[in-house]
């Protein structure tokens, strides 16, 4: 139940057996069926969640009702509306399960307790957030600099697995283009 969890954390920091046992106590295990919501826009996001198995997406819905996927999270990733979670404000993102999933959830109060009692978790999350920043920076640059086709090709290169696991309309949404445009792009690419 904590397999993926510990293997991911121990890649970045060391924990004693005692710390491991303590760490477990802060988390709640939950199963989600495909399409089930973990968070809905407008609620306060009460959990930071680690994906043990499955795949979730977090997205924002605009005035026209169009969904813009902000992040996919599968085995070994964390997901949450970070801003809502840490500031206890209303969430701007919705999170739901793309596949049946199993997650480990922690509340803000427990997160704070955890960083006090296991200070090395501050280091773990420092490294985690730092790596997240690289990715976000790349995406931001990509979204401003490249054409729709280049964005798709770059995603295909950097994240081939995603394309196999996620329906094309969600990929389009993640890239910030319409499904129609993505369909045409793929046709053009395969014609060459």
């Amino acid at each position: 139940m904590f397999d993926v969890f510990f293997s991911h954390i121990l890649e970045k920091v060391s924990l004693t057996e005692r710390e491991k046992e303590l760490l477990k106590t802060y988390f709640t295990y939950k199963k989600l069926r495909k399409k089930q919501f973990l968070l809905e826009e407008g609620e306060v996001c009460h959990y930071l969640s680690f994906v043990e198995r499955g795949l979730l997406k977090s997205y924002n819905t605009d005035e026209k009702g169009i969904e813009h996927v902000s992040l996919f999270a599968w085995e070994g990733w964390w997901t949450s509306d970070l801003s809502s979670f840490f500031k206890e404000e209303k969430a701007i993102f919705t999170i739901d399960a793309v596949e049946d999933s199993e997650i480990l959830m922690i509340t803000l109060a427990d997160f704070e307790k955890m960083t006090i009692e296991i200070p090395v978790m501050d280091r773990y999350f420092r490294i985690l957030f730092q790596n997240s920043l690289f990715t976000k920076e790349q995406r931001l640059l990509s979204s401003v600099t490249y054409s729709a086709e280049e964005k798709y090709l770059r995603l295909a290169e950097s994240n081939a697995q995603l394309l196999l696991r996620v329906p094309q309309n969600l990929i389009a949404s993640y890239l910030g283009i319409t499904p129609e445009t993505l369909s045409r792009i793929k046709k053009n690419i395969s014609r060459r």
Copy 2:
């Protein structure tokens, strides 16, 4: 020389006098004249820098030679090509001074020493990177969801100071639109 520096760090974590003195020893002070480079694309980024005074921008230049501003950093902000700094890879960003500036710089080796010897700095940077993530998430959402005019209005609201301090062509670049478009947007807004 470390005024802004300590006031910003002490907002987030506490330090003993001993830790403060030790912390200082890891940083190098540097003055930059307007237009002077702190980092050029293709180099490895050897420093993470805190801005004591002034204003820097970090940007990426595309194949057409167009600059895309990724981040402005003024008093109390950190700047670096994070990915290049932490992975010791070639930088994709260039950083230069928009105004005469004074900065405090730390190398990766010293950063690592610092987090070992003053573990609470892991916490400081965890919180810092976490806050950065909120902002990047917002910008990404904004860049995909909103029209050029909405992006501008949102920036004006959330960051009025920036508009006063930075030339309009850089604001356009930061928003991912052309200077011509921004000029037209402002005209439209003021006509109403």
